[in-house]
Symmetry: C2
Subunit: 317 residues, 2 copies
């Protein structure tokens, strides 16, 4: 890979995720011309130039967005790139063909990243000659705001590629987490969907409404887990005996909740009630407002992390 200052990035696919990544990279590259975007839709050039500004908050960057390079062909898009990041349709065939084609034109040591939320790198790479360079780099939406990147390599991905990918994101104050197995849905979504399943159940049986359930999470787990994840929180909750103490104290209650947990499935019939409540209470969510407030919280957390790192000094705490 080129020295940091000369990194060139190509994004393939200019949907919501692709454009959000574009905004992130524009805020971290020396010049907008170092970012190329390629999309196969008709009038991609005009579409991208129209859509990109909507992602920028007032304060996020002063780079001129009109200088983003819109690539005219896949060859043009990838031939000079150090990093090629695809956020295209969630379709295995399309991704397999894309990477086989990208491989023909890309430089030998370009990093190849997929934003997929579900198709493992091992499957995407099946038509490639060299499967060592491809891995999933799954963001938490929207990536220009949220710090997490799940790095999910295939068994063929090289250690060096994983390391270079981690270095890239860490240098930009993001949090890349190496997922050690290609598990269904990776990790963040599995966790969130487990909670969502129980949430749907509780609304379905009338214990709380959609609005009440959200309010509960916003005033308890949300802020708590923003500061200390579930294991750390329960480890603290167990007193001197830590997580073990927590389970000694209330393991029975935990198991009671697990035994009683809902087992709803997609299509079970809860949908009408839950969807209707969500529509009624939220209508159209002001996403820009949500992102602005989220950014304020993340700024606080970033600031605290910075102070902690400084005060920790060189020794390991």
């Amino acid at each position: 890979m080129e020295p940091e200052k000369d990194i060139r990035i190509t994004l393939i696919g200019a949907g919501t995720i692709g454009l959000s990544f574009a905004v992130f990279h524009l805020s971290h590259l020396p010049a907008p011309s170092h970012l190329a975007v390629y999309d196969t839709r008709a009038n991609a050039d005009q579409y991208i130039r129209d859509s990109l500004p909507k992602f920028f908050s007032k304060d996020s960057t002063s780079l001129s967005r009109s200088d983003v390079r819109i690539a005219t062909s896949l060859h043009d898009a990838v031939s000079n790139a150090d990093i090629i990041q695809e956020s295209g349709p969630e379709n295995l065939q399309i991704k397999q063909d894309l990477w086989a084609e990208v491989e023909k034109h890309a430089s030998k040591d370009a990093l190849l990243w997929s934003s997929t939320s579900g198709i493992p790198a091992s499957q995407q790479a099946q038509k490639m000659q060299d499967k060592t360079r491809l891995l999933v780099v799954h963001p938490y939406n929207p990536p220009h705001i949220m710090p997490l990147l799940e790095l999910v390599p295939s068994p063929s991905t090289s250690e060096a590629v994983i390391q270079r990918t981690q270095n890239f994101w860490r240098a930009r104050n993001r949090v890349p987490i190496h997922i050690h197995q290609e598990t269904t849905g990776f990790v963040a979504n599995r966790l969130a969907f487990a909670l969502l399943r129980e949430a749907i159940h509780l609304v379905d049986v009338g214990v709380v409404s959609v609005a009440e359930l959200d309010k509960i999470v916003e005033t308890s787990m949300g802020p708590r887990w923003a500061v200390a994840g579930p294991f750390k929180s329960y480890h603290a909750g167990g007193g001197p005996a830590g997580l073990e103490g927590f389970f000694n104290n209330i393991g029975e209650t935990v198991q009671g909740c697990w035994n009683d947990a809902g087992k709803v499935n997609v299509g079970d019939g809860w949908e009408d009630k839950v969807f209707a409540q969500a529509r009624e209470v939220y209508g159209t969510v002001d996403v820009a407002e949500r992102d602005r407030i989220t950014r304020r919280l993340l700024d606080v957390l970033e600031e605290e992390k910075g102070e902690k790192t400084q005060s920790d000094g060189p020794s390991k705490s």
Copy 2:
């Protein structure tokens, strides 16, 4: 109930939860003498006066803690109280006997609250003459920091009692949520434990470590759900079609995660690995530091809520 300014509160049980509630009330009462604490342990007076200051952050209140009234008997504790809040041992027999005894000495319209995380009000009230006044007011730990209170009435609890309880907490900028059924574990813990179960599974099978899993939650769901709960988030994620659109788009992935979800149970054998990792990575958690940062986030959210309420004006948005 007396006018707000004259409210007198009695806390029964001075464990971690009881003392945290004491700190909260001290910050919201006109005089520390309006708070009485009763605990049956030996040397309760000295213990409470020693323990209480540890809960105060430097900035939280200027009230003199030494003026808290330490009650010398249950009769003395409850006879003048408008609100009697128990945070005693999680033991049905103890709570049933306590409320039967409290009922004899308390004023007829005193509110009776239990902080239990698991024993329903309907069971606690079984030896009472008048079951209409008792309900569960379950905090998210620690209550002097976290805004949520789960109000879980029994079928016998009167509407007026629920309403007065809601009014009390709302007037203090807290978020009381009425849980409509006495469900096992109430709601917040059920949700959190559903996610915890999947988290344990993923660590158990080696997909991520305890530290990696926490980092994932801290940089994704945590800050996101602090701003917008799961339903609101996925409703936004579904675009114009809302939550229904979200499930149309990725319902298959959601169901795939549900089908593949872990089914660990307490005592299954994952404990050694998970507990050891938690001990190794966290040792003793600096809870005061965690609470200080959590409070900063909550202050931001509170400020945003205040601004939103103002700008919304009198019309319903």
